[in-house]
Structure formats: structure tokens, C-alpha cells
Symmetry: C2
Subunit: 153 residues, 2 copies
Amino acid sequence: MKLSVRGEYALRAMQVLAERHGGPVVSIQTLSEEQNIPKRFLEQILNDLKSSGLVESRRGMAGGYRLAMAPADVPLARIIRYIDGALSPVSCVSERFYEKCSCPDETRCALRSVMKEVRDAVAQMMEKTTLADLIARAQKLRAVPMGPMDFVI
Amino acid sequence: MKLSVRGEYALRAMQVLAERHGGPVVSIQTLSEEQNIPKRFLEQILNDLKSSGLVESRRGMAGGYRLAMAPADVPLARIIRYIDGALSPVSCVSERFYEKCSCPDETRCALRSVMKEVRDAVAQMMEKTTLADLIARAQKLRAVPMGPMDFVI
DNA sequence: ACAATCTCTATTGCATAAGTAGGGATTTGT
DNA sequence: ACAAATCCCTACTTATGCAATAGAGATTGT
């Protein structure tokens, strides 16, 4: 039930790009250092994201990456689907990555109906949450930096 | 974001055991045929489930497996957690399989807060749905076997 | 004794993920 | 023109985990 490391890196990098949206492009170097992501690996990921049309790049000395669209127009689902594939726990309930499963009768599979609900819950969450929402959350989290337990000396 | 095949097999096998709860033990042979699961592989899985205390076994000629408790007392979450591990999409939001992630500040990670909500949604669903619920769903699905499209000759 | 079952451990094959490497192309600054 | 910093592309390596298979042993009913 896991997101791949690759997918996680993609989301983190995209969040940084979203935060700097409108400013100058951001280099892999910067992204890599800021987010503790292996530089060469991130390079690949950003390249994939570029192929997907989610980011644009600029080459040369002052080069780097930037979002290809407004943060509010990029649901997390889109990033994850592109990098990792299906959101569904089993592929027989996936809408875009459907595959037949080995169970005797898919149409009457009780497990399938449960998994479909799980899928829908996850998809809805990932679909409604955009990079803009992520930024908003980050700001809130910065505003209340410490949990109540952290006041102990 | 996937359940392993192993986990899926475990759930399917457990459903059958739940349906036959109260009756005689069910052999791997039967489970394997009924659910299209490689026999030898299922053997391993059932063995794991036995170690977890979810099923009991009987050896010898009329041997087989049965649930160790009532279907209503077995949430799907328990099976999945035992076979596959965390329900969480990222381990830094897992309650039972927590692992530190590589992001710079976990307490203020916006992505983490989103993932936590996803985790909660999945966990709640898997926790509240038991094997008994699965049986009930299966019965309903049997009652309305065909979708509207299937009436075409 | 025999046959059908579970039990346990090991191993294999395979796919995918994670990360690394090298050399090339492009832009900027001097 | 040249150097430096960057992106670009392809290939490779390595590790990990998953799915499945295999073989020998233990237990039970007839």
C-alpha cells in the first residue's frame, strides 16, 4: 500500500517548484539540497515530469525547472499517477490502469467492492488536493511550528 | 499504492474460511481451486496467517484450516497489516510501522499531513470492514448478479 | 501400512526500484 | 572564444522484494 520513493521525491520537488512559482527557475542542485534527494536520481524524475508536461525547464548556466501551470491546477493525483501509476490498491478496481484479476468472478467479488471504496476515498483526496493546497498547508504548519509537547525545557 | 498479490490471496482465502466458519476445516486444495491461487504459495500464506493467530489448522487426512475467531472480529486491516505491513502510503505517517523519512522537517511537512489523511481514510475503512461484512456483501452481490448491460443476447 | 493432508525451510527466478555514471547539448558570463 | 554551470539522454548496476517452486518431514484417519 505504499507510494514509491520516486513518487515521494516527485511530490516534494513539485511542492518546492510550486512555492517558487512565478520566480526564476530552480536548479536540480537547489532542489536536491533543499529536500535531501540524490541529485542524479532527481534529475531523472524531473525529466519524467517534464515529459508529462507538468514542468518546464531552462538549460544553461542559469537554468533549472519551473511548473508548467499554476499550482492550483495540479492535483497530487496527477503527479502520482504519472510517476507511480494506479492509486488503487488492486488493479481490478483501477479506472485508468485496469487489469483483470485472478478471482473467479470479478463482478460478484465482495473484496473488489471494498477495494473500490478504498480507491475512491484515496482518489478523491488526491484529486482534490492540489499543489496550491500543499503550499497553504505548509504555511499553516510554519505558523504553528511546535506541538504542545515541545514546550518542556 | 498497491496491495501485494500475497495480501490479496490472503484476503480471498480468509473470506472463504469466513463463509465456512462453523463447518469442517477447509483444505488448501479446496481453497486453491476455488480461488485460483497457486497451491504451494497459498500454503505459505496460510502458514503465516496461522502464526498470526488468525487461523487454526488441523493436520492429517481430513485436515485443513479454519478461522480462529468469529468473522465479525476480524477487520481486513488486521490481515493486511500482518501480510503486507503498513496501510500508509508513506511510512512516516504509519502508526505501527513508522519510519523516519528523508524530508528536512517532518513536523512541518505539508505532504505528510496530506498523507496522514489518506492513511486515516484507508485505515478507517479497512478497520471497520470485517470478514463478516465481506460475507454480507458477497450475499448482496449474488442476489443482484447481473448488471443492466448483461441483458443483451 | 498407506494416503492425504499440513509444516517447515530453502531456493529460485523475476521484476522493479533505487541509485550511479558518462558523455553530450545549451545557455550565460567574461 | 572560452569556461562554467546547467539540463539532457541513455545505459548500467545493484539491491530488494515478490511470486512461486521444491523437497523432506510430521500428523491423522482408514
